[in-house]
Symmetry: C2
């Protein structure tokens, strides 16, 4: 498509509007007495062109699935994003003065408490992954015309996560993605390492598979032309590398150090007067483009996702829960064509390849780049376009803890599945063992944590996770475990199962995954010595079935032994302790992996590190004296 | 320096030695019935040339500070690394058959349990950061001749952390660093995204500031020449991009899918026979180069680091603990010239800039790239060359959780300092609030966690951390807090302080940071209603002063209230619950931040999210009924 320059009047209006956005950013940060007006100023022309020349928006329904997406990865420039939306008419310009106030959703950094925000930003370097996820869905699943724009700060482009995502976007030819780099030269505490070396940015982006355009980020014409080029470049994403100045058009502030994250204070009036003097029409008012009539995103129903067939095992079968995960994943994918899986080159270990084998187009290989893996999933799940399951080794999710944390702020519904938990993986050694994954996912606000112990409960965990709001985590194990539930056994979030009991029980044992079986084996051994114990499978660690534990714990004299293939801190044991915190007359022995394990056979390791049936027997004998 | 080709005899010996290393790798993984022989095979010529042509080693003392460093970032190729060291004579070739056995330190992935390993690898993409840290120290602090080599797999080069580190190495002109990319085309579950696109690797590496050399990774001549070029290239690090084949020289296995992480099984004998057939001298024996007599690393003493002057505050002064951190950091840096600080462009918020102002050359700016920040620190602290303090916002350490986790496996002594903890940071909002940092650092085996509440205790925490083995974490707060300790108050790891007590106390309150002051304010209010409570400042959350809490808790009727500016899971509250797990007759009320906070004034937020003095008073009144 050939390019027609916008008319001079349009260009002048966009210039004026950029100054208006600068003024709003100053006023709102003056009102809040905090915030980042200089980081907004470098973006003013970019925002003006984006909102009033490029983005096709549905201002009445900002999350219209057919509208263009914009992610402000440099979330600290929130004031200018809010200002642009106010100028579209979504809410009143007066509201901007409520920035950062306790009763306003115009927070310091954007969150989806606002109806025009898809994901929380503010921890840097995460926006490109989210945008790439949206673009992947737009191109491959929605097959719709909407485009995705991401604004990245030059400071945050030092984050490796950004380069993971750029590579992903280049590899998958996401030509519906446009990443704008706001190269304003200055970081928080000093200049960025690359300052204004625009050619270095260009070389890097080209080598990562982008159509890379270097522009003057304060020139409306150049920006319009670059966005046009982006929209008309096929089979490659575009990067617009904008040379800008922090605090642009703020006299005695522009391009100077020590103005990061500071309102202008007593300089504000003077600066605003200067900006007004630069405007031709101080009352300029523009409207964004509307969503077109064609190329719309299809309607999607991701409610009530079901296993297409119930679990099909025999009691006593020996099946790894990670394998049952793969089986269940393929089953829910057969039920709903918006179920997708993402993996980081571990699909033949996590068994997410079972979905790939059945529905190859719905498996997104993200290679060994877990931060991008998680970010793409969060993007793919935005606006309820997909039900996303992300899998890798449980411990490798530590790589994406910040993304998962931000996922909670983003109100994401992504499901995480971590295999190879605990020292029971054996010979590969401690670098591959998930021993802190429960602790990590428990800290995520609103998360649900499944720790199924057999294949039947694993399949139900997958089905439940698909329909549960918030972050879900399913912890799967490497070794085979025995099927102990009937195929029609019902499972509910927050409800555990008593898997062994007698009226004479003196101690309550709680285990999950491989330690549930160690508890059962210990119970067998103890019974030979005429000690009977009760055993609970919690099914979900969060929420934990507090009532069940309290009730059965009391029946066992308040004696509880918790055994887990996890470090002491933040896992099942401390979850139980939290549940019992306000109960007097309980005593808890906690068996856990006490230190960095080593390579060796699984059975040897679980005994050496204190979580085998033998250790449980010792703990029961010790607690009986309490 | 002009290049002289090695003699034909030497080349043939190196070729033979490469085959010998392949055979060792097959034999050891056959014995262990697990492991990654094909990932070793692609590296055989590289290892042969490195060990017997390049590296200057002290085989008797592998951690000689003057010897060259080698980091095998693709840790799953451990068998060939072990084989190479066995061939140097460090230990017997027979030992290789103990690979992955429970009583051998030849684990599945390398750990520093072996005296020739500096850091644990196996979680991918971390080696370059560590190597860059070593190289930075070698060039800038040791000013010594040793060189650092890092071997990176092509699969793991998808990790963004790798690109953070490459940028760092390029930016700081680390010409004593050589990164070898083993581009063997195949990942675990499918081909890598770039396969054998050698020119893409070259473009990327050049754009990241490297001298980039593409070579045939199985050609001894080319490798020797490339290493020579690397050693003689000034002001730039070198990348040797080696085109290789996974399973090289293994007939019917080379370059084929589905051979990742599998011993050769019944193919082994045939393959070994084939390899032997390729050798001219099956008994080839070579020796590595020795460490030279000049350019040695200086002796360094990092024991007994002290504040150069004691804390100097007045009781009642109002000082943020983050500021006291900066003050103390500069003081220990004045005491010992091996104290260094690293930051991720937050130095004017964490106050690590106080060290920079005093000793600019000892502050390493790592820009916004936390994974590399942590990795560089771990590298810098290896072989006890420096005492490294790493600072950023507490919550941004989640970005480097995997690096910190591997740091524990690496037995690192790095000190982490996280500022801006909790919702008490206020208007910036939840993305900037550390609310899971204690949980994260508590899971690190052997970690020590300081949570000082005033400036005096913060300075002592810094001094103690500098001298403490293992990972240390110091949590600092943004708001000013009152100085409550005398300048000569002694502090000890694992010992808390009773900061308020009366014989009539009915409830024990435990708080830290800003919540300690909320506890004290609550105590004042309660006293007006004739309820007296005891208050403990734990000082360290890990180890926690269990005896003190049990003793004083008992004196308060077993009633404990814990208040923390952190999520429920894994923090101070659950640490207290773990400490009291085996005590009957305790009841604990835990006040914590229950959900994602929002932007607002600190005082409003801590009340809204349930951790203010008012909330403590309510909790005390409630627990008195228990």
């Amino acid at each position: 498509m050939s390019y027609h320059k916008p008319e001079a009047k349009t260009v002048q209006d966009l210039k004026d509007l950029a100054q208006k956005l600068r003024i709003h950013s100053i006023n709102s940060t003056q009102a809040s007495k905090s915030g980042h007006p200089t980081s907004c100023a470098s973006l003013a022309e970019i925002m003006s062109v984006l909102f009033f020349q490029q983005l096709r928006l549905n201002v009445k329904h900002p999350r219209d699935p057919s509208s263009d997406r914009l992610i402000l990865s440099k979330g600290h420039a929130a004031p200018i994003l809010y200002a642009a939306w106010a100028e579209t008419g979504l809410f009143s310009v007066e509201d901007l003065k409520n920035l950062r106030k306790i009763d306003s959703d115009l927070e310091g950094h954007p969150t989806p408490r606002l109806n025009f925000i898809d994901v929380g930003t503010g921890s840097l370097g995460q926006g490109v992954a989210v945008g790439a996820g949206m673009a992947y869905v737009g191109k491959n699943f929605d097959k719709a015309d909407y485009r995705t724009y991401v604004i990245v700060g030059d400071g945050e482009s030092a984050e490796g996560s950004v380069w993971e995502s750029l590579h992903f976007a280049g590899y998958y030819n996401l030509d519906n993605l446009c990443v704008i780099f706001d190269v304003n030269r200055l970081g928080q505490s000093e200049a960025t390492s690359l300052q204004h070396k625009m050619e270095v940015y260009r070389d890097r982006l080209e080598s990562f598979g982008f159509n890379a355009l270097v522009v003057d980020g304060h020139d409306i014409d150049e920006l319009c032309k670059a966005f046009h080029c982006a929209a008309n470049t096929k089979s490659k994403p575009t990067a617009i590398i904008a040379k800008t100045f922090k605090g642009k058009d703020f006299p005695n502030i522009e391009d100077l150090d020590n103005w990061h994250g500071k309102p202008l204070g007593d300089q504000a009036d003077k600066v605003i007067k200067h900006l007004q003097g630069l405007m031709v029409n101080p009352n300029v008012k523009l409207a964004p483009k509307k969503v077109g009539k064609t190329g719309l995103a299809p309607e999607v129903d991701i409610n009530n996702v079901k296993l297409c067939a119930p679990p099909n095992y025999k009691l006593g079968d020996s099946v790894a829960t990670r394998l049952a995960y793969g089986t269940a994943l393929a089953k829910i994918a057969a039920d709903n064509d918006r179920v997708i899986a993402l993996d980081g080159d571990t699909k033949n270990s996590t068994f997410s390849d079972k979905l790939k084998n059945a529905f190859p187009e719905r498996h997104i290989e993200c290679f060994i780049a877990e931060q991008n893996l998680v970010g793409v999933a969060i993007g793919a799940a935005c606006r309820r376009r997909t039900v996303a399951f992300v899998s890798t080794f449980a411990t490798f999710f530590t790589r994406a803890y910040d993304q998962i944390r931000m996922g909670a702020i983003s109100q994401t519904n992504v499901n995480f599945v971590g295999s190879h938990c605990g020292c029971s993986i054996g010979e590969d050694g401690p670098s591959q063992m998930g021993l802190e994954d429960i602790a990590m996912f428990r800290t995520i606000p609103g998360s649900t944590i499944f720790y199924p112990s057999d294949a039947v409960s694993t399949e139900r965990a997958v089905e439940l996770a698909a329909n549960t709001k918030g972050v879900c985590f399913i912890r799967t194990s490497r070794p085979n475990t025995c099927v102990i539930y009937n195929n029609d056994e019902p499972f509910t979030i927050g409800r555990g199962k008593v898997v062994r009991q007698k009226p004479s029980d003196e101690v309550l044992l709680i285990g999950a995954g491989i330690t549930l079986y160690e508890c059962l084996a210990a119970a067998d051994q103890l019974e030979k010595d005429c000690i009977t114990v009760r055993v609970i499978d919690p099914f979900t660690v969060k929420p934990l079935d507090v009532d069940l534990i309290v009730e059965h714990g009391k029946q066992c004299g308040g004696r509880v032994v918790v055994v887990e293939d996890h470090y002491q801190q933040g896992g099942l044991g401390e979850a139980v302790l939290s549940a019992l915190a306000e109960q007097r007359n309980f005593v808890v022995k906690h068996l856990f992996v006490p230190t960095v394990p080593r390579s060796g056979p699984p059975a040897v390791l679980i005994d050496m590190f204190g979580i085998s049936a033998r250790n449980v027997v010792l703990a029961v004998n010790a607690i009986l004296k309490k």
